[in-house]
Amino acid sequence: MTELPRAELLEITLRTLGVSGAALALALLSGLPLGIALGRRQFPGREAIVAIVNSGMGAPPVVVGLLAALLLWRSGPLGALGWMYTPTAMVAAQVVIALPLVVGIRLAAVGGLAEDWELQVRALGIPAHWRLWLLLREIRLGLLAAVIAALGGILSEVGAVMMVGGNIAGETRVLTTAILMYTQMGAFEAALGLAAVLLGLMVVLAAALTAVQQSGRR
């Protein structure tokens, strides 16, 4: 049984955080206007989008990975980008996994506001950017729930990053793909070490976010 060198462990951990962090940030940014729009406005096609979002919340990462791989494959429609087997492709696939979670939970948070909420804010004559600030403040419990759910989803998924990243050492290997690989090789000690790091990350991040969320209740 082999133990993983410390430098390699650190490198894999940092890459995992980098890929999932970037994917989360992109999902949060693009999911914000979408979630608010879906929660507060009525427009044609709204219900169809909500249905897609809701079913997307349970989309199997491995299927997302398959579709992303088909798109990014050298001869595929987006093959010219040259993203296949790069961290960029992994980020893209994880954004697709995280987005429905972010949008869905935000949609619920915004939809939970009183019907007159926006009218009241407008009646007070508050400028648009302050209205957005008030709105984010109002739904911050739901926002943090979205962050926790999305982060948990993408940190722990293995299917999509494996298929579009390829688990290349020093380039696209992340914690989950490394665990998979070492387990298949029978290197259980290395796999267990990586698993402990992954679990530790999840616990620390979730605890930190929960602390922020709960402090907002007071």
């Binding site: 007159d116 009218l119 009646a123 004559g125 109002e138």
Partner: protein, 356 residues
């Protein structure tokens, strides 16, 4: 009369609603400094829509708005909407982006909270307030803007009688102190009368009558307005040559300003003006009847009297005098002072859009 602060003129606005279309037509409605205009109307008359139009929240209705004074227009909703955070945060939210200096914001928020007697609640979370406290917070938030116009949507909703009285006193004081022009909408006459200087009767999207409170109460221009302002006794009659409204061969009611003989009209008498007695009543006796119904809520005894095949309504003070001994079936005499009898000619009784 003080100068108008906000005037809504020539509004003809069709608004799509879930049930179809709703049309709001207002020839002219003006809010004056230090004055309370109560828009009284049944549910679905367009009261809240009118308030939103006055608040400038409906782009389609903005052209009809004429603002004559600087200062915000504050709207307080029927169900106060609060923001997550403390009472102080909620009051401060009204000044977000207003450009007011920090010290100025602090002073205005403090003054507004004190005005509605909730300054001691400033550090409390808004979510923990009672219904009455929430309403006071919503009002304080509105006043933190130092508005020129205040729009109130059913401000007495969910308040008990004592809460309504306390809020009325505070509002009267604040209106006198600030000179804010107020429009208040409600469907309930009793609540309307707590603050009204002027009354506008809004029925099916149209102001059917507006004027000083006493005038609208005493001289409604149609049966629809009469019912709305509590003139519960409406009897169809024909003017005779002796200055009476003839109901049938045996029943007639004296008129203070009799119309031409032969004219048909509705005779309106407010319940409080119809006197009930077991002997000879004050005013002019209009006949004898018997008690058909009696509902005593501990404050007021609501009495229905069968007379001329109709049931006339009157009030007595509960637990006093006649109200203590009266029971259903008792013979009583009815009287009314002619100047308390209102005549609504039939030809204009339900004419739409009639205005004085």
């Amino acid at each position: 009369m003080s100068e108008p602060v906000l005037v809504l003129r020539d509004l003809d606005w069709v608004r799509a609603t879930r049930g179809g279309a709703f049309r709001l037509v207002i020839e002219e409605l003006s809010l004056r400094r230090g004055e309370v205009l109560v828009v009284l109307g049944p549910n679905g008359a367009g009261k809240s829509t009118l308030l939103r139009a006055l608040a400038g929240l409906e782009p389609a209705a903005r052209a009809a708005l004429d603002r004559r004074a600087a200062g915000a227009t504050a709207l307080v909703f029927q169900r106060p909407v609060t923001f997550a955070g403390t009472v102080a945060h909620n009051a401060r939210a009204a000044l977000l982006g207003s450009g007011a200096a920090r010290g100025d914001v602090q002073r205005r928020v403090q003054t507004a909270l004190e005005r509605f007697e909730i300054a001691h609640l400033a550090p409390r979370r808004a979510a923990t307030l009672s219904g009455g406290e929430l309403r006071r917070l919503a009002l304080a938030r509105a006043f933190a803007q130092e508005p020129a116009v205040l729009l109130l949507d059913e401000p007495y909703d969910d308040l008990d009688t004592a809460g309504q009285a306390a809020l009325t006193l505070d509002l009267r004081r604040v209106i006198a102190e600030t000179g804010v022009a107020v429009a208040l909408v409600t469907h309930e006459l009793r609540r309307a009368l707590l603050l009204a200087d002027r009354i506008a009767a809004l029925i099916a999207g149209r102001v059917r009558q507006q004027g000083p409170r006493a005038e609208v109460l005493a001289r409604p221009n149609s049966t629809a307005v009469a019912r709305l302002v509590g003139m519960d006794n409406l009897v169809l009659g024909t003017a005779d040559a002796d200055g009476f409204g003839q109901i049938d061969d045996a029943h007639r009611i004296p008129l203070a300003a009799p119309p031409r003989a032969g004219e048909e009209g509705w005779i309106g008498i407010r319940p409080e003006h119809l006197k009930l007695d077991v002997g000879r009543g004050e005013g002019e006796l209009i006949g004898k009847g018997h008690v058909a119904s009696l509902v005593d809520d501990g404050v007021t005894a609501h009495v229905g009297v069968a007379w001329a095949g109709l049931e006339l309504r009157t009030h007595l003070l509960a637990g006093r005098g006649l109200a203590r001994t009266l029971s259903v079936g008792d013979p009583v005499s009815l009287s009314v002072r002619p100047q308390c009898v209102h005549w609504i000619p039939v030809r204009r009784a339900d004419a739409a859009g009639a205005r004085r």
